[in-house]
Amino acid sequence: MSALSIDDLRRVLVECAGEAEGAEFDGDGRTFEELGYDSLALIETAARLKQRYGIDLDDGDVMAAETPAALLSLANAAARS
């Protein structure tokens, strides 16, 4: 499959946990915390990535990803392996 884009990730996040607070995220340096997404939002997102894209991520790695860009590269690395 082609690599997951930041827009794909954003779509999944919003589906799982609603729109970000304040500004939309666009892959800049803003952290999940700054965007208002907590650990539950990330776990929910990881479950959805597995269902939809077959990307299997470790919960601990997901929680350690501080920004959408970090989660995106984690997901794409897992998809390639």
Partner: protein, 418 residues
């Protein structure tokens, strides 16, 4: 008087007052819309429209229509909240705005949240169960972990408003909403400046709605005007509803110090008691509960201007309540009413909504009627307000609530005069 001694009002009493209210009821969103509809006899009980109930033996519900969660709450909260919690969050917002309280910086340890809930997040859970069986466990929302839970309204109100003082959730079936208010007053007396309190419930999804019939007390009548007739000779059960009320409770001193825009009244007394087991020859605890609440307000039964009844709509329960009231006050000695005939029974939301209604009765000097009821058996010995509202100066009201399997709670509110 028989039974245990009545405890007097505590020494060094700290008056607790209501400075803001929010209402979400089947016959009105917002306090004034609800109150107008109560006085005009507009009912929120209709045929179930939220889902296809054609396969159900019962068809009626007190549904809140016209509440669009997106208009009241940030999008972030929608995937993680049941309809009951969305209603609770909006109602709490309205109560805080009414009290002109802006919680502020999110580090507020002097404001707490104490709510009651009886049914949890049924609709949310119903959906997740569907996913569990249809698609598998990994499809169940992580938010199910708290969205179903009785304490979730307290938690979400606390988080949304940054209220970090004492938090609690009380579960007392349909009496629990009054228990929450009682505990809120206790918490204020112990030194917390302000407590958001009350109760909101909703269980009108296909599974929650069905579950309510298990108790065997829901009316099978299909005419919305005949289905819930508290204290009527033709009473045949109740109609389940959704919603409730949230109140801002403060010490009178704190309210005055911050210049609260209004004081609806004082929560002057609260008591709770549990019924004896079935088959006991001891009487139900309702009368005792009411007596205790009145005594703790420093009052006597003759001081009470109106009773907001539990109003089960089930003949044996109506009779028991009528006997408790006529026994305590004397036959026909005090007006009794049940505005919940227009909303259905709101579980943990019912008591707090009745308390708000009682405070509005005090404010406007009018007792709303028990809609639809017309034929009260003389043997009940109560003066039930039916037909039109009764204009009457009201300075003190007793609100009682019962929950299934023995819960009883009572609150006394009175006009605030300093």
């Amino acid at each position: 008087m028989s039974g245990p001694a009545v405890r007097p009002a505590p020494a060094g009493h700290v008056p607790t007052v209501v400075t803001g209210v929010g209402v979400a009821a089947p016959n009105g969103l917002g306090t004034e819309e609800y109150w107008r509809n109560v006085l005009e006899g507009r009912s929120g009980i209709t045929e179930m429209t939220r889902f296809d109930a054609s396969g159900y033996p019962f068809k009626l519900a007190g549904q809140i229509t016209g509440f669009v969660a997106e208009d009241h709450l940030p999008a972030r909260l929608l995937p993680q909240t049941d309809v009951s919690t969305r209603l609770a969050l909006a109602t709490a917002d309205w109560a805080l705005a009414d009290a002109a309280v802006e919680p502020g910086d999110g580090e507020n340890y002097d404001m707490g949240v104490i709510t009651s809930n009886a049914t949890g997040g049924f609709e949310f859970t119903h959906r997740e169960f569907h996913k569990l069986w249809d698609q598998g466990p990994s499809y169940v929302s992580v938010y199910e972990s708290f969205a179903w839970f009785y304490a979730v309204n307290t938690g979400q109100i606390s988080i949304r408003n940054g209220l970090r003082g004492p938090g609690a959730a009380l579960v007392g079936e349909q009496a629990g909403g009054l228990d929450a208010l009682g505990h809120a007053c206790r918490t204020v007396r112990e030194g917390t400046g302000l407590v958001i309190s009350g109760g909101v419930d909703s269980a009108l999804d296909p599974w929650g709605y069905l579950s309510q019939f298990a108790g065997g007390l829901v009316s099978a009548e299909s005419d919305p005007r005949r289905a819930y007739l508290p204290f009527d000779a033709a009473a045949g059960g109740y109609v389940p509803g959704e919603g409730g009320a949230v109140l801002v409770v403060e010490s009178a001193e704190a309210a005055e110090r911050r210049g609260a825009p209004r004081i609806y009244g004082e929560i002057a007394g609260y008591a709770a008691a549990f019924d004896p087991p079935p088959g006991s020859d001891r009487p139900p605890a309702l009368r005792h509960t009411a007596e205790q609440a009145i005594a703790r307000a420093g009052l006597r039964p003759g001081d009470i201007d109106v009773v907001f009844a539990d109003a089960a709509g089930v003949p044996r329960l109506d009779l028991a309540e009528a006997q408790a009231i006529s026994g305590l006050f004397g036959p026909g000695a005090v007006p009794v009413t049940a505005p919940k005939a227009l909303t259905g029974r709101l579980y943990a939301g019912g008591g707090p909504l009745d308390v708000v209604t009682a405070l509005l009765s005090i404010r406007d000097g009018v007792i709303p009627p028990t809609a639809h009821t017309s034929d009260v058996p003389g043997s009940y010995g109560i003066d039930l307000v039916v037909g039109e509202p009764r204009a009457l100066p009201v300075s003190t009201a007793l609100v009682v609530a019962r929950g299934r399997h023995g819960f009883n709670a009572a609150v006394v509110v009175r006009a605030w005069t300093n």
